[in-house]
Amino acid sequence: MSPTRGIAEIADAFRKGETTAEAETKAALERLERAGTDFNAVAALTPDTALEQARAADTARAKGTALGPLAGVPLAHKDMFYRAGRPCHCGSKIRAGFVPDRTAAVLNRLDAAGAIDLGTLHMAEFALSPTGYNGHYGHGRNPWNPDHVCGGSSSGSGIVVAARAVPAALGTDTGGSIRHPAAACGITGLKPTHGAVSVAGAMPLSATLDTVGPLALNARDAARIMDVIAGEDRDDPSTAWAPDRPFEAALSGDITGLRLARPRGYYDEELDPQIASALETALRSLADLGAKVADGGTPDMAASNAFAHLVVATEAATLHRRWILERPGDYADQVRTRMEPGLCYPATHYVEALMRRGDLAREWLDSALGDADAAILPAFPIPVPSIAQTTEGGPDAVAKIIGTVTRNTRALNYLGLPAVSIPIGFSADGLPIACQIVGRAWSEPLLLRIADAFQQATDFHLALPRAVAR
């Protein structure tokens, strides 16, 4: 049973009777145990309920019951999606022992599609670290090199997919928390348009910026997950505008004539030559596939970055105010200090951030894309840093490297736009390099089509970390 199979292959094999859900689940549980030990990727596995789900799927198939698109596929998810009766710690000490009484909308949809839920995955404390740092439960470790960051805050989700323990996992993205682990671990991660996927039943960090999306081995698997989880949900009013559209069916493999922009200015600043070189090579590959690639404009990111910080700090501080004031020592300093400024901004500036959001999104699209269909941006501007680089040197040094790691991701959450992170190469020290494909609101099917076409022509997404291959 090869661990490198994606969702489509496992689901197809299950449907044809070439494998059973129970066998897939047992094998995935073993791989997750190993990923937990080797890379600190797991919060808590739930083998009893997973095997119960799997046996029910096998029974359903034996009876000829109609099977969902994820029937028999074992998955596990970031530890901030509630499931009634199952502990959900959100990577924190403060919420240790919390047991929700409801189940997240996305987990309900995955259940209905036949997916098997194997348990919860490690994450940054309250989803507030781009590196995978967790002061209470230890760093997530990158399967490509455990001395380097795995990216966060959906750290376990990135690790277990890169380690081929499960073919996909859900994460959340408020400033890059799906794209960071996808980029650092060399897999595909989709941050949807704000409101494309329900966040109901996921612990909020910043309701204005929070998004839920898949981390997967490839764009096709991400699309299949999106077909299941995207769309309007009465429990999340932000999804009221979500159009009904197919994702996997949009993957035609053809990007002939699509116009792709490479925005300059801000996105060239602090850009490491290795990342720039991989980006140029990826753009040439896309041009070879028939896309029309041209330089985009030079968007001014100062206001969007300022508002992104202000909104997440203010909304997180609003939710955490009592704990910040009464239990400050129960947060890691690196986490608490990212929320604390939110206690200090005037309401007028917060409301201004909301009022300007649509206009700034239009301005960014006009500048970065112009008439193009999508923009290609670097994900991290630097090679994946070591854990030491992101934790040593004092608070100012840590703040600086976190600012660098997130400089190309965080404003997109304020702008509310969709972005796919895909691997496009490797740095000299053997760690993945990634780009983001960014588009207009609701353009996820188009972005995934571009990513899929690129992956049909390249093999970066197929590379296995040495620690996994042996």
Binding site: T193, H194, G195, W241, P243, R245, L258, R259, A302, A303, A306, F307, H309, L310, I324, L325, E326, R327, P328, G329, Y331, D333, R336, T337, E340, P341, L343, C344, Y345, H349, V351, E352, A353, L354, M355, R356, R357, G358, D359, A361, R362, D371, A372, D373, P395, G416, G439, R440, A441, W442, S443, E444, P445, L446
Partner: protein, 55 residues
Amino acid sequence: MSDSKAPASKADICRNHAALVAATQETIDAMPMLNPDAGPHSFATLKAASTGEDR
């Protein structure tokens, strides 16, 4: 930075973050004046007007 184990006061917290808060507000205040007809639903309007189709 105050002792992170003891209960905190908002005044101390804002004193610790004064430089970042001031820099953020300066950036915002440097923008052109907000349109007096602006409303809180500008992003919802953008989403309602978008289809996600190719250009």
